[in-house]
């Protein structure tokens, strides 16, 4: 569904590349976490998938298409196949819940009838069927993020990208969000989620792709966020050590396994 082939992204010639020779494939129906320290290139990865930016070297394939080959006027159509959620929700403050979700259908020319039938269904998926007339400022952060998710999936995209969707939420609320993303994934949508949240990564046990200063340093199925591993030394002292591929219990993900 998403394939990066030796992708390097350089924003600024003087500094190191934001992404450095990334070679990775995320298959249809996958749920992948994108982890790494701040500045490691997670958001850049997501921007490249959306073709908000183009790779400096290498190629990005989305749904079997090289995004560099898509003419500008076709980019909107390609984006209709991708839903996006951000840390800051990005709801329209002057529209209620229903209208915020309906907006995504209106702007791509969907008819009134299909909006009236689809939006309530999607709001039910995210558990907001009772709050469709609320304004965004009348909702909690978790509820706002659920509206944002509803908006991202209302056009039934094959891919859902989430850039730190739980970044502004407390752990309990985050669990609710993760359950929704999991449900969406179980309905067949490929989910890629960039996150810092170790607890979430550890509890979900899904694929983990770790970036460090733009380099791919780990890619494992059912991984943990083990950037730092607690070690008990022989003398009984404890310390944190950076993850090492040798520590991995499960073999690294085999990229030759599928073809999109």
């Amino acid at each position: 569904m998403i394939r990066f082939e030796h992708v390097t992204k350089v924003y600024d010639q003087k500094s190191r590349p934001a992404l450095d020779d990334i070679d990775v494939e995320i298959n249809r129906g996958d749920f992948a976490f994108l982890v790494g320290a701040s500045g490691s290139g997670k958001s850049t990865f997501i921007r490249l998938v959306l073709r908000e930016d183009q790779a400096s070297r290498g190629s990005v394939h989305v749904a079997g298409q090289n995004v560099a080959g898509i003419p500008n006027w076709r980019v909107p159509r390609m984006r209709r196949g991708i839903g996006v959620v951000f840390q800051d929700f990005r709801l329209l403050p002057n529209k209620d819940v229903f209208s915020n979700v309906a907006f995504a259908m209106q702007v791509i020319g969907k008819g009134r009838a299909s909006i009236r039938s689809t939006v309530p269904e999607v709001l039910k998926t995210v558990g907001l069927e009772d709050k469709k007339r609320r304004m965004p400022h009348e909702l909690s952060g978790g509820e706002q993020q659920r509206v944002a998710i509803a908006r991202a999936i209302v056009n039934q995209p094959g891919i859902l990208l989430a850039d730190e969707p739980t970044g502004n939420l407390d752990p309990a609320t985050s669990v609710g969000i993760m359950n929704i993303l999991d449900k969406i994934n179980q309905n067949g949508t490929t989910v890629v989620m960039a996150t810092h949240d170790t607890d979430i990564v550890n509890s979900m046990r899904r694929r983990v792709i770790e970036l460090d200063e733009g380099k791919l340093v780990r890619d494992e199925q059912a991984g943990e966020y083990t950037a730092m591993i607690p070690i008990v030394n022989r003398d009984g002292s404890r310390e944190l050590r950076t993850a090492d591929p040798r520590d991995q219990a499960i073999a690294p993900f085999d990229t030759e396994e599928d073809e999109a």
Binding site: G81, Q106, V107
Partner: protein, 304 residues
Amino acid sequence: MRLAFILGEIGSGLRRNLSMVISVVLVTFISLTFVGAAALTQMQITQMKGFWYDKVEVAIFLCGDDYGSQTCADGAVTDSQRSAIKSQLDSAAVKPYVESYEYESQDQALEHFREQFKNSPIVDTVTADQLPESFRVKMVDPEKYDVINELFTPMKGVDTVIDQRDLLEKIFSVMNVASLVAVGIAVVMIFCAVLLVATTIRLSAFSRRRETGIMRLVGASKAVIQLPFVLEGVIAALIGAVLASGTLWAVVKYLIQGKLAIEYPDTAFIATNEVFLVAPGLLALGIVLAGVSSVLTLRRYLKV
């Protein structure tokens, strides 16, 4: 559906930027009023030319007592001089150029003068012997004025030969200057209008960056994203153009037709028909101005 949605977006955009939109309306209103005024002045000139050019005559003024010119050194015109001039007008050399001519005595001159200036107090101070007698020559081809001028100016008893077209040309050149001034003001105002539309669209794009950002992410096409902005500018300019057309119509209807045409029944004036000729041009100009400047602005300030 999509149309209703776009109209809703335009409506909210217009409301959100009301003060800017009003200024766009006013600036296009004023600039297009000047454009229209210039066009109508030109039409008025054409109208007057058509009306006057086949009425104008060459006037051969005859000498009175104590006229300054050389040919009048011997005092007022004598009967023999007058008949010499008359026979010159009938001669084979002049005849082909002359359609008709008429003699106007001092008394007739006074009568015409009184009629022309009947509303003015100077009428009472002028007497017949202050006005020169003249021959009024109607030319076959008014361009051939020089022939008459060369033949008659040196004759004894002729004071001057005047082509009335010269007087008209003076009026027309004043009107031409006025319309050029109007065009000049219009150009400056149009420049303001273009800049103002650009600024308004920029502000509008900025205040709606959330919406456009989301539109982009969910895959709205460029047209759907940009159209509300372009139409916002175009609608504001269109309102300005309608106001300009309405103002010109009112001026022509109530000032020119309602006042001038009644006061000067001998002159041709433009009517509201001419305004209806100019108005579509003003509307088109408004649309093009706003459309072009908003598209150019959006290309820079609205990422799609």
